[in-house]
Every structure is written in structure tokens, then in C-alpha cells.
Amino acid sequence: MLEIKKLNVSVEENKILNDLTLSIKTGEVHAIMGPNGSGKSTIAHTLAGNPNYRVESGSISFNGSDLLDMEPTERSLDGLFLAFQYPIEIPGVTNASYLRQILNSHRKHQGKDPIDAAEFLKLLKEKSAYLKIPMEMHSRFVNTGFSGGEKKKNEVLQMDLLDPKLIIMDETDSGLDVDALKVTADAVNQMKSKNRSLIIVTHYLRLLEYIKPDFVHIFQNGKIIESGDSSLASRIDKEGYE
């Protein structure tokens, strides 16, 4: 699914990722932990193609294609999804119309007709009920004035709508209350499948206890310093990174 080799990435003259190598097979769930500023969001944004992150060297292959050759739009349409640590507010654009547009971009790519208003509303009601998102939120502007937790839930909703092949969740659990965390974990577990891979960036054991990753990697200074199974997450939780 994903093959990252000797990746070096800079942000505004600062080198952040150092020779990062990581391989993820289809169906696997990988967790990434690591101290603040260690480069977790940097790899997440580099995978999604954020132009602020400059790839100096190395390669990323995604389902056999050269990911670094693809525009962000193309990456998304080919099944990559990044749930942002800090979702962006878009004033003036209602969440409902935004969600419908992103869904329709994907449908168009799949050669399907745009979803009609009634069908979309039904789908939105279904998915929102499952994630305990009030429908009222969709008539507000995208993420604008949403609480931290509401923004994160909105990311999970988009992930669910777009049905991606590779999911990268950047601290989606931060800011969620205990109930919302459980709902989110359930949603993620539902999405676990042998055709889909997940990368879960988190600081907390709690989400990982629900989701049970196959691998846990520890980031430091822009590279993986240790990898293991889920027991590594428990150890970090007890002992810290020092």
C-alpha cells in the first residue's frame, strides 16, 4: 500500500524528517507516537501533498504509483485521506454543501453521477446519527466556530463519506470527550478492513486500546527510533519517551 524510503522533508529551511523509512501493507494499522515537534504532522502533511512541506530527497510509493508526483487532489481521489490535527475553517461555505461537493468529486472520479439532494440528506442523516453529530451543524459554515471535538468529528465524518484506502489520522483523538472518543474508535474499527490501511498519530494509549494497532512506531527528530507491537504503546504510556 505505502512504501516510504529515506524521506527527507524541510519546512521553511528547517529539516524536519531525516531519512524516514516506513512500509505499510494493505490491511495493516500502524500507530505513530512521539514527542511534540518530532515530525508526526510533517509526515502526515507530506503524504497528503501539502506544498508547505518540501521533499528534499527520498521516495514514497502508494499502491505502485509515485505519490510525490501526484497533486493533493489526485492523492485524495486515489484513496488517501488525512484527518487534520487542526481542521481548517471555511467561512461562507456551509458544511452540508461542502460535504456534498467533496463526495461528488469522488463520485465523478469513479464515473458516477452526482448524488441528488434527497439521497445525500439521507446519507448525511445516517452517518451523522452514527457519529452523534447534530444535523444543525451541517447548516453552519465548515468548521467555523465548531468546538475542538466537533471539528474532529467532522473529520471522521468526511473520512467515512469518502471511503478511503489509506487513512492518516493526525491526533483525531485529542480534544474528544470520553463518549466521543468511543464513538470515533467504533467508527474507525468499522472502517478497519483487509482492503484498507490506517496510520494513527496519537499521544494517548486510550484510542489505541480500542483500535489495537498491528504496529507502533516511536518518532523522534524526524525518524522512527523504535518500532514494536501494541505493548510498546503501553510502555510509552507508563515510562514516557525519555
Binding site: 497528503a48 501533498g49 501539502n50 506544498p51 508547505n52 497533486e71 493533493p72 487532489t73 492523492r75 485524495s76 481521489l77 488525512l82 487534520f84 481542521p87 481548517i88 471555511i90 467561512p91 461562507g92 461555505v93 461542502y98 461537493q101 467533496i102 468529486s105 469522488h106 472520479h109 459554515f141 468526511q158 469518502l162
Partner: protein, 307 residues
């Protein structure tokens, strides 16, 4: 068509005026095309009167005329111009709003980037009269619009909302608001989008004379630059000669936020569509401020069509 309406249609060298309201009187209509002047007077009525102006022409003749509009005491008028201007034009509107009258002007106009289009409006407001001025335009080769508002008596109010969407077109908008009385208010909001190689100018002048205490006046202008070669120049000018006023103004222009565009593309939306969504978001507040639901819908369509 419901009653209480007047349709003015100007088609090349022909004009038809269909007046179905007893509250609207029109003089000089017979030889309007030769005289190029139309005098319209609106009387007080319970419901708003409505004038629909349509201009149609396939020829390249200059559309050139003047309307003198008077709203008598207590009159309520909605004036709607949804024309697509395929000609050069030079239109002048002179408006007198008497006591307690209310005038809503909706201009939703598409122009064409080969033409020169001029619109001049001079509006004087008497006691407790209100003018709501909505203008949506897409610019032309030379698109010049000048509005002069004279707030001549107490409690007169001006609410102006202007949107100019330019796609390798040019537009030059001047709004001069003259507070010639105490206790009058004005709110002016202008937003523009410049795509391709557009050039947009906006001059907003607020003048408050020395005897005009208790004046409230706000002006905001914002520009969104989409094309690398486009230019936006927003110039607020304040001439305030009284201390007892509440005035604010702000002008800002810039490019779309990169993080927002990335967020949109990371969800599978193309770069072009992402920009369009951004522009729609930027302009959306305008159709939300229009109380009249059908006009709000039209403004929304105009924005969708031109972005």
C-alpha cells in the same frame, strides 16, 4: 404578473413601458428614446411598488438615458435591473427620497469585456428615508460606476452593498457619501474578486460636515486576488469635520488562504473548484444580508454564475 408593477423594457431604439400600478406615474415616456429622459414618481402605498428594467439589444448602439426618480412621502419602491449589457452604456439615475420613503435598488448586471459601461447615480435622502443599494456586477473593458449619496435630513439611512466580480475585466467604483445633516447613518460594504488580468479600483469617500453630530458611518472594502496579473486598489477617504461621530473604515485585499485551498484539494476537489468555493465563501455574506428572499436567491445565482 401581479399588479403594482411597472415594466420598462428598452430594446435598441424601441422602448415599451407597461405600467400596472396606479401609484407609479411616468412622464416623457412617449418620446423617451429621442429625449433620453424618463421622469418617474412613486406615491405612498401599502405594499412596495416595483419597477423592472430590462435592456436588450443585439446592436452595438450606445444605451444612453437618464431616469429622474422621485419617491413621495411614505413611498416604497423596489427597482430591479437584471440586464445583461451587450452594448456600451451610459445611464444616469437621479433620485429624490422624500420623508419616510424607502428605496431598494437591485442591480445585477452582466457586462462584456469589449464594452464601456457607465453608471451614475445621485441620490438625495430627506427625513427618515432609507436607501438600500445592492449592486452585483462582473466588470467590462471599462466599467465605471459612481454613486453620490446626500444624506440631507435627520434619520436618513444609506445601506450599500457592492460586489464586483472581474474575470480579466476592469471596474472602477466610486461611492461618495455626504453627511449633510446630523443624526444620519451610512453603511457601505464593498467586495471584489479579481481574476485573470483584472484591474479593480474602489474609492469610498465619507464626508461629514462640521455641524453633523450624531453621525454613524461605516465603510468596509475587501478584495480577493485570484489572478497573478490582477490588481486591486481600495482607497477609503474620510473627510470628517465633526467630533461627535461614530465612524469606522477598513480596507484589505489579498490572495486566498493557502491552507484553506490545500484542505479543499486534500478532499479531492480540484484546484480550480477549490478557488471557486473559496470565492463563493468570500462573497456569500452578501446574499445573506438581503432580506428580500427572491432577490437573495437571484444574487446567489449571479455569484455562482460569475465565479
Amino acid at each position: 404578473m401581479s399588479k403594482d408593477q411597472c415594466l420598462i423594457s428598452i430594446n435598441g431604439f424601441n422602448s415599451t413601458i407597461e405600467n400596472l400600478s396606479s401609484f407609479i406615474s411616468i412622464t416623457k415616456a412617449e418620446d423617451f428614446i429621442t429625449n433620453k429622459v424618463l421622469d418617474i414618481e412613486i406615491d405612498k402605498s401599502e405594499n412596495a411598488q416595483r419597477i423592472n428594467l430590462t435592456l436588450n439589444s443585439s446592436s452595438t448602439d450606445l444605451i444612453d438615458f437618464e431616469i429622474n426618480l422621485t419617491l413621495n412621502e411614505g413611498a416604497i419602491l423596489e427597482f430591479v435591473d437584471e440586464s445583461n449589457y451587450s452594448n456600451n452604456s451610459n445611464i444616469r439615475l437621479i433620485t429624490q427620497l422624500h420623508k419616510n420613503s424607502c428605496f431598494e435598488l437591485y442591480k445585477l448586471n452582466s457586462y462584456n469585456n469589449e464594452n464601456t459601461n457607465k453608471f451614475y447615480h445621485n441620490c438625495s435622502l430627506l427625513e427618515n428615508s432609507t436607501f438600500k443599494d445592492y449592486s452585483f456586477s462582473n466588470g467590462s473593458k471599462e466599467n465605471f460606476s459612481k454613486t453620490i449619496i446626500n444624506l440631507d435630513d435627520v434619520n436618513s439611512r444609506y445601506l450599500g452593498s457592492g460586489v464586483s466580480i472581474n474575470n480579466s475585466t476592469n471596474s472602477d467604483t466610486e461611492i461618495e457619501i455626504r453627511h449633510n445633516t446630523k443624526s444620519a447613518s451610512s453603511d457601505c460594504y464593498f467586495k471584489t474578486v479579481a481574476k485573470g488580468s483584472s484591474k479593480v479600483n474602489f474609492d469610498g469617500t465619507i464626508f461629514v460636515d462640521n455641524y453633523c453630530s450624531k453621525t454613524i458611518s461605516n465603510q468596509v472594502s475587501k478584495g480577493l486576488l485570484i489572478g497573478k496579473e490582477s490588481k486591486i486598489n481600495l482607497v477609503p477617504k474620510l473627510e470628517i469635520y465633526n467630533d461627535d461621530v461614530e465612524c469606522s473604515h477598513g480596507a484589505a485585499s489579498g490572495q486566498p488562504d493557502k491552507n484553506t485551498l490545500f484542505y479543499l484539494t486534500s478532499r479531492g476537489i480540484s484546484k480550480e473548484e477549490a478557488e471557486q468555493i473559496y470565492v463563493e465563501g468570500f462573497l456569500s455574506e452578501f446574499f445573506e444580508t438581503i432580506d428580500n428572499a427572491s432577490m437573495a436567491e437571484k444574487a446567489k445565482n449571479f455569484i455562482n454564475l460569475n465565479t
